[in-house]
């Protein structure tokens, strides 16, 4: 009788190994996947009440901190003293709706390591510091506040960068929201409310939304023309009132429906300064999709430009445009399927300012520990050369003329040499999206910026880049240079 019992026993021990296999599968092999499943609230709940590190600017302005919970002295609550001004950059760390922004990108530094997990206990025994690290951001708080104020009730974004290092000086998206509403027990309802508000305050228009760049894209086309030698500023083009797109019924006209110059001929410089669509459509077709694509990709299109979090890739579809001259003509003026984020457009202005070299934008300057010692210094990361140094020089002169005598006079700052380019892109419905990109001072640029307005009832129907976005740029350059 022991025989059958022994066989059953063997079967049962085998079954225990099957259980062990199941355990290995779920607790070892698939453990990370299960832990990070968005439906699993445990990781966020574990963070609740824990101390997180500071997020401060270089001059000491606190934008996120943990304070002792007034209702429970053993617990911490997160505080965002600057509220909606820094919302999209700083993000939030909510136990109910997750994390976002720098709170997410730097979560592993900002989180407390006092979890009493075995590895933490070992670390504590070895004398390692378990207090959270803090991060210092490169943003200038005065410029950030000024940008937020300047956008006012508009839907839009402002991104300002240090051209040489890519350091973010301001990054604003409006309308905004106060991240602290996402910290309480009613966070899920608050979040739902943000998502259902028509103006979409939770949307990060600066880094997460792709828009048609409109005429600001002419900087890329002009760079391609100069780099390839297809045109110099003085190269003349025919100057019709309407440009007939080849192989198509459609035409392209200028904003004022008039010829660019005298109806006979106009130079590339004139076309750039006056933002003539007719001539840039013509020029784009002459350069060709592939050569514009080379410059566009050198300046970050169709690839990751590198930032604290993933930014949607800007779109220039060389393949589709190579055999479609009409579409190429429309794309050359930043319409049709060309798409880019305001952050990326600021980086393009910065590349022109930085002698043609594009630098990846970054908002965090350094990580430091609880005693203030630097743990990690964030070095500028070059994206690569976007255009030759010579091209950058010529383009700078052309952009300066835009501000002194062209569509961008609204961006002028008394006593300062400002370079820029306006854009008025097709938006939704009857509204257009005003743009301005530029930098200052021309001889030694310290700020490059992109101002983007998403056309709506607030900006009105007649809003153009020159009338609407350029004055905001002027104001911000003034604030920046005054500080």
């Amino acid at each position: 009788m022991n025989g059958p019992i022994r066989r059953i026993a063997a079967g049962m021990f085998l079954a225990m190994f099957v259980l062990l296999g199941g355990l290995t599968w779920y607790q070892v092999v698939r453990a990370d996947e299960l832990r990070d499943d968005p439906r699993n609230p445990r990781p966020a709940l574990a963070e609740r009440g824990k101390e997180r590190g500071l997020i401060v600017t270089a001059d000491g302005t606190v934008v996120a901190r943990s304070i002792i919970d007034p209702t429970d002295p053993r617990s911490f609550v997160r505080e965002y003293p600057e509220g909606e001004t820094f919302a999209h950059l700083v993000g939030y760390s909510s136990f109910l709706v997750g994390t976002n922004g720098l709170e997410r990108a730097y979560a592993s530094d900002l989180r407390s390591r006092r979890d009493l997990t075995i590895s933490d206990i070992v670390a504590a025994i070895l004398g390692r510091d378990l207090r959270p690290n803090s991060i210092e951001i490169t943003v200038d708080p005065d410029l950030q506040r000024a940008a937020f104020q300047a956008l006012g009730a508009n839907r839009g974004a402002v991104v300002a960068l240090d051209p040489a290092t890519g350091a973010v000086l301001a990054l604003v998206s409006t309308p905004s929201y106060d991240p602290s509403v996402l910290l309480g027990d009613d966070a899920a309802e608050q979040w739902e409310q943000l998502l259902t508000t028509p103006s979409q305050p939770a949307r990060d228009r600066a880094t997460q939304e792709l828009y048609a760049p409109g005429s600001t894209f002419k900087t890329v086309v002009a760079a391609a023309a100069l780099d390839t030698g297809a045109a110099v500023p003085g190269t003349t083009f025919a100057d019709p009132a309407e440009f007939q797109l080849p192989g198509s019924e459609a035409t392209i006209a200028n904003a004022n429906e008039l010829p660019c110059n005298d109806g006979q001929s106009a130079t590339m410089l004139q076309a750039f300064v006056r933002s003539c669509n007719t001539i840039f459509a013509d020029l784009s077709i002459q350069i060709g999709a592939a050569d514009i694509g080379i410059t566009a990709e050198a300046i970050g299109f169709n690839r990751d430009i590198g930032f604290e979090w993933e930014v949607p890739e800007a779109v220039w579809d060389t393949g589709a445009l190579a055999n479609d001259a009409a579409a190429l003509g429309q794309s050359g003026i930043g319409e049709r399927d060309v798409r880019v984020t305001p952050l990326h457009m600021a980086m393009i202005a910065a590349a022109v300012a930085n002698d043609g070299i594009a630098v990846s934008p970054h908002a965090v300057g350094r990580v430091f520990d609880a005693d203030g010692n630097t743990v990690e210094e964030i070095e500028p990361a070059e994206l690569g050369r976007a255009m030759t140094s010579e091209t950058a020089d010529i383009l700078t002169q052309m952009m300066e003329r835009v501000v002194t005598e062209g569509t961008g006079t609204g961006a002028a700052v008394p006593g300062v040499r400002v370079a820029g380019k306006t854009g008025t892109a097709t938006g939704t419905g009857e509204f257009s999206n005003p743009w301005f990109i530029g930098f200052a001072p021309v001889d030694n640029p310290t700020i490059a910026l992109a101002v983007f307005i998403e056309g709506s009832e607030v900006s009105g129907e007649s809003a153009s880049g020159g009338s609407f976005a350029a004055p905001i740029a002027s104001e911000l350059i003034e604030v920046w240079l005054a500080s």
Partner: protein, 431 residues
């Protein structure tokens, strides 16, 4: 290993319970309080009683069985304390009662031997059947003993004495009575059941008349499934019977027939009954049915995955997010807070208990005692496999609790009496 070493390990395991409670307190920001001392005292008194009963009534019994059981109860208890502090006090009372009943079992059996149980096998059958039927008593009549429906299953009886009401799951004791009956019946009839097979080519088929007990057991299981909606007990009893039948006869044909009956019964049940259907859906697609049927299993898997290798630490995870964590899903709760290290340790301790149980069976010379020891071990092992396998999606969830660890008084009493029976057999068969 002798009795003194056994006593030392029991004390150490009792300290483990107190230590666990202290760790949970720390995690919640508390400190060492009365709960810690009380838990240690209750464990020491309860298992001390059992230990001294063994010294008195079963001195030659193996000292290997009780210590791992104490460790399991201790691990389970601190998880219960962590999940439902208000129920932990009640569980402590049940532990005292369970150890007292187990000690009483040893005392009573020491007057004769376990052979008494064989003599009263028919009484065991009648009492067990009556116990199984008790929950079907009306829940609204004047008599103080009433049935109770919980979550759609009829497993509970309530003894309402006016001043206080007590709830009990009689199936936990009935399953012991039935294992005793099976072992006795099979010991008496093993010859008849083993011989006279019909041959159909190379396949040996049992005589139709020999299949009668199998069919009766199957009918009983179906009855439990249909009228009490207790999938777990139904499966457990039938599996226990089929395994014992194979153990007694060595005829693999019984295993095959029993296996086919289980599969066909389960398939029919899944097709016919909504409550079985829902469990199958939850088993196969927990994440697709996250909002309803699959929620419990999905949360269990999240708990295990988040626990990962070393666990969140006692009191530092969120096993309270799993519905019924302290009963059906206590294994997942352990997995979240103690990690893979903890769950593997738990499985290792169960394997040790099983090994000791099988060892007692192997060494028994008396057929009845051999079958009884095997049957009791089968019942334990099948329960562990069904519930842990259910949590790990190896089998559908059957609503069985984890022996020694889950919250529940009746199960603790039943399982410690089971341990007492194994202890008594090992004492009687020791040379």
């Amino acid at each position: 290993m002798g009795r003194n070493a056994e006593a030392a390990i029991i004390v150490a395991a009792s300290m483990l319970a107190g230590f666990g409670v202290a760790l949970v307190n720390f995690a919640k920001g508390g400190s060492v309080d009365a709960q810690v001392g009380l838990t240690f005292m209750v464990f020491a008194v309860a298992f001390g009683t059992l230990h001294f009963s063994m010294r008195a009534f079963a001195p030659r019994a193996t000292p290997l069985l009780v210590p791992p059981v104490v460790a399991l109860v201790a691990l389970g208890f601190f998880q219960i304390y962590r999940l439902e502090p208000s129920r932990a006090g009640l569980q402590r009372w049940w532990l005292l009662i369970a150890c007292a009943v187990a000690s009483l079992t040893l005392a009573l059996l020491s007057r004769g031997t376990t052979s008494i149980l064989r003599r009263y096998r028919n009484l065991m059958l009648v009492v067990s059947t009556a116990l199984l039927l008790l929950p079907n008593l009306p829940s609204d009549w004047g008599f103080p003993l009433r049935g109770l429906e919980v979550n759609g299953s009829r497993l509970w009886i309530v003894l309402d004495l006016g001043v206080t009401a007590m709830q009990f799951q009689p199936a936990e004791l009935a399953k012991l009575g039935l294992v005793i009956f099976f072992a006795a019946y099979l010991a008496d009839h093993q010859k008849a059941l083993r011989e006279a097979h019909r041959r159909l080519g190379p396949i040996r088929l049992p005589e139709p008349r020999q299949l009668i007990p199998l069919v009766l057991a199957w009918g009983g299981s179906i009855f439990i499934l249909v009228w009490q909606r207790d999938l777990g007990a139904s499966l457990l009893l039938f599996a226990g019977f089929v395994l014992l039948l194979y153990a007694a006869t060595g005829s693999a044909g019984y295993l095959a027939a029993g296996g086919m009956m289980t599969v066909s019964g389960a398939a029919a049940a899944a097709y016919l009954f909504d409550h079985v259907q829902r469990r199958v859906t939850a088993w196969l697609e927990p994440f697709q049915h996250y909002a309803d049927e699959g929620y419990q299993i999905a949360q269990g898997l999240f708990a295990l995955g988040t626990g990962s290798l070393s666990g969140a630490g006692p009191g530092l995870g969120r096993p309270d997010l799993i519905p019924n964590a302290s009963t059906d899903f206590i294994f997942a709760a352990v997995g979240e807070e103690l990690g893979f290290a903890g769950t593997v340790a738990v499985l290792a301790v169960y394997s040790l208990v099983m090994a000791v149980g099988f060892g007692i069976s192997f060494r028994s010379r008396d057929t009845f005692r051999k079958l009884l020891a095997a049957g009791l071990t089968f019942v334990l092992a099948v329960q562990v496999f069904l519930i842990v396998g259910g949590v790990l999606r190896i089998v559908p969830l059957t609503g069985i609790t984890l022996p020694f660890m889950s919250y529940g008084g009746s199960a603790l009493v039943g399982n410690l009496v089971l341990v007492a029976l194994l202890v008594q057999i090992s004492h009687e068969e020791a040379t």
